[in-house]
Amino acid sequence: MDKDFAARRRRDLIIAAVLAVIAALTPLFVKDVVVQNILILTLMYAGLSQSWNILSGYCGQISLGHALYFGLGAYTTELLFTKFGVLPWFGMLAGGVVSALIAMGLGYPFFRLRGHYFVIATIVIAEIGLLLFHNWEWAGAAMGITIPIRGDSWLKFQFLRTKLPYFYFALALCCLAWFVTWWLEDSKWGFWWRAVKDNPDAAESLGVDVFNSKMGAAAVSAFLVAVGGSFYAQFVSYIDPESVMGFQFSLLMALPAVLGGIGTLWGPVLGAAILIPLTELTRFKFGGSGRGVDLIVYGSLIVLISLALPRGLLSLFSRPKKTGAAR
């Protein structure tokens, strides 16, 4: 079993490296800006979903409020940038730290809640954040912040002529989130998380530090999501509360993982690779009519997949019978 596990981990790492190289080469062949845009968003959501998956998938604490961390990352970066001229790179780091700290602060009361109470608390806290930013004059209130153009450079993390640098950053972010997940999967925390998810009481009685392992998951997860938020803010160069902290982000982060396979290493990547292009294309094709066809397609898909494949698409590839014990 142990040998299997080690072999699987090595195989995962090799597959990831190959995929990353292939992804890095795609811009050589794909010159269309619309397609590049979709690729950037796909990579970003893959990264976000992977980060969400750490807390909600591995550790089993289903959060539908991760938009809070996404928005905090975006706002911290841009407020530092526009008000104090701090470079987005530092802002990104600051946003991550702020989000991780807030996630841990919220963890104290939240992790006592179970099941639906926890889920609703996460939605509620993100909604409070949204309303506060809506009313916070200094942070632009409902008008939001337009990120001023300060040139075209890696230093300022702004690119006017080409989307390629954004693409590579999104790829890097996605790889980072994947690698962190891969690394944690085999760590003490990884095993603790799975124990906490399966049966918190049993885990506690066997000496797992349930509370602290949840805290760890929340901090890592929030940090990575906040970095994603900073990236998004620079990428679209305009933020307002609804566009970075809206409930839809909490969902969009969760869905790829759910679709691909929650609590798995590859689920979020696979889910994002299918879901995001599909979302963008349906919106591109039908969204303009304003008649909600994109919503119908998208919603039906979610219902069908969650009913037909409760373990996610990934379960199609795993050999039957073997999965239960191995994972």
């Binding site: 539908l64 109470y117 889920v119 608390a121 309303l131 969902l251 304003g290 919503l295 219902v303 409760p310």
Partner: protein
């Protein structure tokens, strides 16, 4: 207002209490009910007050069908059961919103002249808008009816028993699916009633459900999932808190008070005010 929140929430509480499923499409059920009473008014000039039972009946069927077609299967899932339920009902919500946009367009609609619209009544010097008053009365009646129904009738006992132990219930010849479908229908009918009354004094648009749904979840969780009385009490608390917050904070922040009270309550009592275990 609080009693109406309670009425919206009690259907949710019933469904949750019955089988541990949270219906994340609850707000969309409300939206459908509002549209139904709008169209009954627009095409047949039936006042929402009269059409309320019709809407409730229609929603009853809708709720039962949703259970039989979707939720029944979602409950069967062995892996990630919680996730499957959340995302099945969520997906349904998104589809319903999309369909509403498709068929009804995203325009805002309202019922211009109903019997109650815009009228106020003066009770001991306090002016009360009539629609809200009627809403409050209907809510109280619905709560009383539901309470009686669950605790005094055979079917209510069957519901309770099925929730306690589905296996044993099957042995005495009660069809679990029929009981649950009935429960879903009842939950939907209650939100249908709420929708019909609210159609009189709220704008009707495809996303209207979303703005009430979160408050409904908060109301239910505040009272404690699975407790009818809790939903009633939760509704009143939410209504009061909203009114008080509106006095001290800008109107756009009035929901913050509700959310803050919710968080406070569950931190002290992680199972809500009247929740068991």
């Amino acid at each position: 207002m609080g009693l109406l929140y309670g009425l919206i929430a009690v259907g949710l509480a019933l469904i949750f209490g019955l089988m541990d499923v949270t219906n994340f499409a609850h707000g969309e059920f409300l939206m459908i009910a509002m549209y139904l009473s709008f169209f009954l008014f627009a095409f047949f000039a039936i006042d929402p007050l009269l059409s309320a039972p019709l809407v409730a009946a229609a929603l009853f069927i809708f709720g039962a069908v949703v259970y039989l077609l979707l939720v029944r299967f979602a409950m069967r899932a062995k892996a990630n059961a919680g996730m499957v339920q959340i995302f099945t009902t969520f997906g349904l919500a998104i589809v319903m919103r999309g369909l509403a946009q498709y068929f009804f367009t995203p325009d805002y609609r309202s019922i211009p002249q109903s019997w109650l619209g815009g009228k106020t009544i003066s009770v001991a010097g306090i002016f009360l808008p009539e629609p809200q008053l009627v809403g409050a009365l209907v809510s109280i009646a619905a709560f009383a009816g539901l309470y009686f129904f669950i605790h005094r009738t055979d079917f209510g006992r069957a519901l309770e028993a099925t929730r306690e132990d589905p296996g044993a219930v099957a042995l005495v010849g009660i069809d679990k699916n029929r009981v649950f479908a009935f429960g879903w229908g009842l939950g939907a009918a209650l939100v249908g009633l709420a929708g019909a009354i609210m159609a009189v004094f709220f704008y009707i648009y495809p996303d209207v459900g979303a703005s009430f749904a979160l408050i409904a979840y908060v109301t239910v969780a505040l009272g404690g999932f699975g407790s009818v009385f809790g939903a009633f009490a939760g509704g009143i608390i939410v209504g009061l808190v909203e009114a008080v917050t509106a006095l001290v904070l800008p109107p756009s922040l009035k929901s913050v008070g509700i959310y803050a009270v919710y968080l406070l309550v569950v931190f002290i009592r992680p199972r809500g005010l009247f929740g068991s275990i």
